[in-house]
C-alpha cells in the first residue's frame, strides 16, 4: 500500500469548523430515534427552506431566512399537533401526506419567497426618492459654502 503523505496528518485550519459540524450532525443523528416524527414532518414541511438555503449564494444570505420564517409559521400548527398530540411515526406520516398541511406550509414558503422578491424594488424606490432629496440638500450646502468662501472652496484635486 502506498504511504499517505505526512502533511495529511495535520488538519487544515478550515477542518476544525467541519469537525464541529460533524459533531452536531452526529448528535442530531443520535436524537433521530427519539424525535423521528418531528424530523420527518419538519423535513417534508420545510423542504422549500432547505432548498432555498442550499441554492442561495453570496454574502447576503437572507432568502432562506425569509422563506424559512414563513415556511415554519405555515408548518407550525401541524408541528404543535404532533408535539402536543400523538408524537408517533404513524401520525407524522399521516400529517406529511396531508395535502392541506403541505399546501399551507409550501404556500407560506411561497409567500416568504414573494416577500423576498417584492420588497427590494419597493425599498429602492423609497430610497431613491430620499436620495434625490439628500443630493438637493447637499448641493444647497455646497452653494452656501461657495457663497461664504468663494469658488476656491470647491477647488479640489479630486474633482477638478
Amino acid at each position: 500500500m502506498a504511504k499517505k503523505p505526512e502533511k495529511k496528518k495535520t488538519p487544515a485550519p478550515g477542518r476544525k469548523g467541519g469537525s464541529n459540524r460533524l459533531v452536531i450532525f452526529l448528535a442530531l443523528m443520535a436524537l433521530v430515534p427519539f424525535s423521528l416524527p418531528t424530523i420527518l414532518v419538519m423535513f417534508v414541511g420545510l423542504l422549500p427552506t432547505i432548498a432555498a438555503a442550499v441554492v442561495e449564494r453570496g454574502t447576503n444570505r437572507y432568502a432562506w431566512i425569509c422563506v424559512g420564517g414563513l415556511n415554519f409559521a405555515g408548518l407550525a400548527p401541524w408541528l404543535f399537533s404532533l408535539w402536543f398530540g400523538h408524537h408517533t411515526l404513524e401520525f407524522a406520516l399521516g400529517q406529511v401526506t396531508n395535502v392541506t398541511m403541505l399546501f399551507v406550509a409550501y404556500g407560506a414558503a411561497g409567500v416568504g419567497s414573494a416577500l423576498y422578491l417584492a420588497l427590494p424594488p419597493v425599498v429602492a424606490a423609497i430610497m431613491s426618492a430620499t436620495s434625490v432629496q439628500r443630493a438637493t440638500g447637499l448641493r444647497s450646502t455646497q452653494r452656501k459654502l461657495i457663497d461664504s468662501w468663494g469658488e476656491s472652496v470647491s477647488k479640489s484635486d479630486e474633482f477638478h
Binding site: V67, M127, R134, I146
Partner: protein, 672 residues
C-alpha cells in the same frame, strides 16, 4: 526806505516764520555760480541787511556745514543766520534756502579773469590772514571744512574795505565751484563734484593760493585752462606757478610757500600759521619735485619722465594702458629708470592678480588693474577709473551730482561694483583707521548695487553716501524731503497729485527709507519685492506703518486712504467673504483716522489669518464630503446596494417576526 525798495514787487516767502525772502528781488552781486541770491528780511530786526541763497533744486547741499556755521560770528566768515527747506513760488516747489548777513563791501574779485587793486603786503595780516584764519579755526572747531576759499567767494566785510570775509560754503558740494588755481594738485585732478569734504590742509592750500591772487590783484594764470594750470603745478610746484613772479617780502613768501606746499604732510598747519602770525620765523619750505626717470617711458606718442605725469596720461588713454603694464615695460621702467623698487613690486603684484582672471572677467580685471596701476604710480592722486576721478569721500557727491544732472552713472556704479576703492585703500603708503571705515562703507555700497531690488541699487547708494540728499522720488521731489520725519507728511500731501493706483513707495522712497531709518525695517524692505502681489502690498503697508509708529506721526488721512485702496489683494487673500466685507467696511473708517498702524493690524492680524485659514480648510473638507456623496448618489452605486440589502433584511425580519407571532399564538392557544 532802502529795505522797502529792495523788497520790490511780488510777495515774500517765510523761512521758519522769521525770515522773509523776496523772490521778486534777486541780488546778482551775492549770487554764486550755482545759487541765486535774493533779498531777505528778519521780522525781528528788519534793519539787518540779509540775503538768501537758493540751492539748485535736486542738487545736494552741505547740511553739515549749515549746521556747523549757523550763527557763527567769526570775523572772517559771512554770518549764516538761518537755513532750511521752504516753499518757493517761482518754481512751485520747496527749495533749500540759506540766509546770510550781507557783507558791507562788495565782492573782492568779480571773476577769475577780473583785475582789482592788489592787496598791500602791509595790510595782508590785518585784512586777510587774521580774519580768514579765524574763520578756518571756527569751521575746524565744528569738524567741517570750508572748501570754498577763493577770491571770487570773498567779500569786503565793510564799506571801508578793512577786512575780508569768506562767502557761502554750504549751498553746493565741497569744492564744487573751486577753480584749479586755488585747489591742491590732487583735488584739481578730481571731477569738481568728486573732491569730497577733504581736510583742513586743503582749506589752508586754498587760503594760501587765494592770498597769492589777492597780492597779484589778478589771477596770474587766468589765460590758462585748468588742465594746464594743474600740469604746471605738478612740474614747477604751486608756489612757482602762483607767486614766483611777484616781488614779495620774505615773510609773505614764507607764508605762501608754507600754505601752498604741494606735499600735504609738509604743508603748514593751523599751528604754523599761528606761529607765523605771532612773528616767529619758520624754516622755509623748498618745493619738492617729482623724481624724474633717467630715461623717459614712451606712451601714446609721448615720453614721460615722472610717475605722476604718466599716471595722468594713463587716465586719458585708458584702453592703451593694459598692454604696457602686461608686457612688463612699466615695471621695468620703474625698477631701472626711476629706481622705485617698491612701486615696481606693487605693479608686478597688480599685474599677477589681473592675469589670473578668466575669460569674461578678464576685461573687468584689466580695468581694475589700470586703476590700481594709476594709484601705485601716484599714491596721492584721487581714485581714477576710466572717466571717473574722485577722492574716496567724494564719490557720494559725484554720484549725487550725476543723478541730479542726469548724466551716465555706469562708470561710478562699475567702479563700486569692481571694488576700485578697495584697491585705493590697499595701495596706501601708511595705515589710516579712517580708510578702514570707508572701506567697509564701500563694501556695503557694493552689496546694495549687487541687489537691484526695491530699496537697493544705485538709489540706495545715493542716499547712503549723501546725508544731505533730498529724496528724488517724483512723488515727493517738490517737498524737499531731507529727513525721514518729513517723508510720510510729504506722501500724505502727494495724494492730491496722484491717481491712487500706483504704490506710494517707489525705488527712490524705498532706498531713502533704507538709508535714513534708524530702526529695523529690513524684513519689510525685503518683502517689498516678493512675487506675490498680496504679500508685497502688505509689506508696503507694514513698512509705512512701522515708520508711522516709530516716529509717532498721526493725521495721515490721505496716505491711509491711498494705501487702503491698494490693499484689495490683501483683503482678497481672506477666504471668508463675510470677513472680507467687514474688512472692506472697516478700511475707510481707519483711513479717516489716518492710522496706518491700525490698518496694518486689521489686514495682517496673525490670529485672524490663522482662524480664516483653519475655517477655510474645514469648509473645503465639508464641500468635498458633500461632493463625494452627491457623486455616489448620481452614480446610483450605493443606493442599489443599500436598498437591496435593506429590503432583504427587512423581508427576513418580517418573515421571522410572522413566524414568531404564529408560534406564540399557537402556544397560547394550546396552553390556555
Amino acid at each position: 526806505m532802502a529795505s522797502d525798495q529792495q523788497s520790490g514787487a511780488g510777495g515774500s516767502v517765510s523761512l521758519r516764520d522769521r525770515y522773509l525772502i523776496y523772490p521778486g528781488t534777486p541780488l546778482a552781486e551775492f549770487a554764486t555760480p550755482s545759487a541765486q541770491a535774493f533779498h531777505a528780511e528778519d521780522r525781528r530786526d528788519p534793519t539787518k541787511p540779509l540775503f538768501a541763497l537758493i540751492v539748485r533744486p535736486g542738487h545736494p547741499a552741505r547740511i553739515d556745514a549749515m549746521r556747523a556755521i549757523k550763527g557763527s560770528e567769526s570775523p572772517g566768515l559771512m554770518t549764516l543766520a538761518e537755513w532750511g527747506p521752504m516753499d518757493w513760488p517761482p518754481l512751485n516747489r520747496k527749495v533749500m534756502a540759506v540766509v546770510y548777513e550781507r557783507p558791507g563791501g562788495g565782492r573782492v574779485m568779480s571773476s577769475l579773469t577780473a583785475e582789482f587793486k592788489p592787496l598791500d603786503e602791509a595790510d595782508l595780516i590785518r585784512k586777510v590772514v587774521s580774519p580768514i584764519f579765524a574763520a578756518l579755526r571756527e569751521v575746524r572747531l565744528h569738524s567741517v571744512t570750508h572748501r570754498a576759499i577763493r577770491p571770487t567767494n570773498m567779500f569786503w566785510a565793510t564799506a571801508e574795505k578793512d577786512r575780508i570775509i569768506l562767502g557761502d560754503c554750504a549751498t553746493v558740494l565741497s569744492a564744487l565751484e573751486q577753480p584749479a588755481v586755488v585747489e591742491t594738485i590732487e583735488s584739481s585732478m578730481c571731477h569738481p563734484a568728486g573732491r569730497g569734504p577733504g581736510s583742513y590742509a586743503d582749506d589752508i592750500y586754498s587760503f594760501g593760493a587765494s592770498v597769492a591772487l589777492l597780492l597779484h590783484g589778478r589771477n596770474p594764470v587766468s589765460h590758462l585752462d585748468d588742465e594746464t594750470v594743474l600740469r604746471r603745478k605738478i612740474l614747477h610746484g604751486s608756489f612757482a606757478v602762483l607767486a614766483a613772479d611777484e616781488r614779495l617780502s620774505l615773510q609773505t613768501s614764507e607764508f605762501l610757500r608754507g600754505t601752498m606746499c604741494d606735499d600735504p604732510h609738509e604743508r603748514w598747519t593751523a599751528e604754523s600759521i599761528e606761529l607765523w602770525l605771532s612773528g616767529r620765523r619758520l624754516s622755509p619750505l623748498l618745493a619738492k619735485f617729482e623724481k624724474r626717470a633717467s630715461r623717459g617711458l614712451p606712451f601714446n606718442g609721448k615720453e614721460y619722465s615722472t610717475a605722476r605725469e604718466l599716471a595722468m596720461a594713463f587716465c586719458k588713454n585708458w584702453d592703451a594702458v593694459a598692454q604696457l603694464v602686461l608686457d612688463g615695460r612699466l615695471e621695468l621702467w620703474l625698477r631701472r629708470s626711476l629706481d622705485m623698487k617698491d612701486k615696481a613690486d606693487a605693479i608686478a603684484g597688480v599685474t599677477r592678480e589681473a592675469v589670473m582672471a578668466v575669460n569674461d572677467k578678464r576685461a573687468a580685471a584689466f580695468d581694475t588693474m589700470v586703476a590700481k596701476t594709476c594709484m601705485v604710480l601716484d599714491s596721492r592722486a584721487p581714485i581714477r577709473y576710466k572717466t571717473l576721478a574722485a577722492m574716496p569721500d567724494g564719490i557720494g557727491g559725484l554720484l549725487a551730482e550725476a543723478i541730479a544732472d542726469g548724466t551716465d552713472l555706469r562708470t561710478i556704479a562699475e567702479a563700486l561694483m569692481r571694488e576700485v576703492p578697495k584697491g585705493y585703500f590697499e595701495t596706501r603708503d601708511a595705515y589710516n583707521p579712517e580708510n578702514s571705515l570707508m572701506d567697509s562703507s564701500f563694501r556695503e555700497q557694493k552689496n546694495f548695487l549687487d541687489r537691484a531690488t526695491l530699496g537697493n541699487g544705485v538709489e540706495r547708494v545715493l542716499y547712503s553716501m549723501n546725508d544731505a540728499m533730498p529724496c528724488l522720488s517724483p512723488l515727493i521731489v517738490d517737498d524737499y524731503v531731507l529727513d525721514i520725519r518729513d517723508l510720510l507728511p510729504a506722501l500724505n500731501a502727494a495724494t492730491k497729485k496722484v491717481d491712487g493706483k500706483g504704490w506710494p513707495i517707489d525705488r527712490h522712497i524705498a532706498a531713502f527709507i533704507g538709508a535714513r531709518a534708524n530702526f529695523d525695517v529690513e524684513r519689510q524692505m525685503s518683502d517689498l519685492t516678493l512675487p506675490d502681489p498680496e504679500r508685497a502690498a502688505m509689506a508696503m503697508l507694514n513698512l509705512l506703518a512701522v515708520i508711522q509708529w516709530r516716529l509717532g506721526q498721526g493725521g495721515l488721512q490721505g496716505l491711509a486712504t491711498w494705501v487702503g485702496g491698494l490693499m484689495q489683494p490683501s483683503v482678497n487673500s481672506f477666504h471668508n467673504r463675510e470677513r472680507r466685507k467687514l474688512i472692506e467696511k472697516e478700511i475707510p473708517r481707519i483711513a479717516r483716522d489716518g492710522n496706518l498702524v491700525e490698518l496694518a493690524r486689521l489686514l495682517d492680524s496673525p490670529e485672524e489669518r490663522t482662524k480664516d485659514a483653519h475655517e477655510f480648510t474645514e469648509a473645503r473638507t465639508e464641500w468635498l464630503a458633500a461632493q463625494r456623496e452627491i457623486a455616489n448618489i448620481e452614480e446610483g452605486r450605493s443606493n442599489n446596494e443599500k436598498a437591496l440589502r435593506f429590503a432583504q433584511q427587512l423581508a427576513a425580519l418580517v418573515s421571522v417576526t410572522i413566524s414568531l407571532i404564529t408560534v406564540v399564538l399557537l402556544l397560547l392557544a394550546r396552553l390556555l
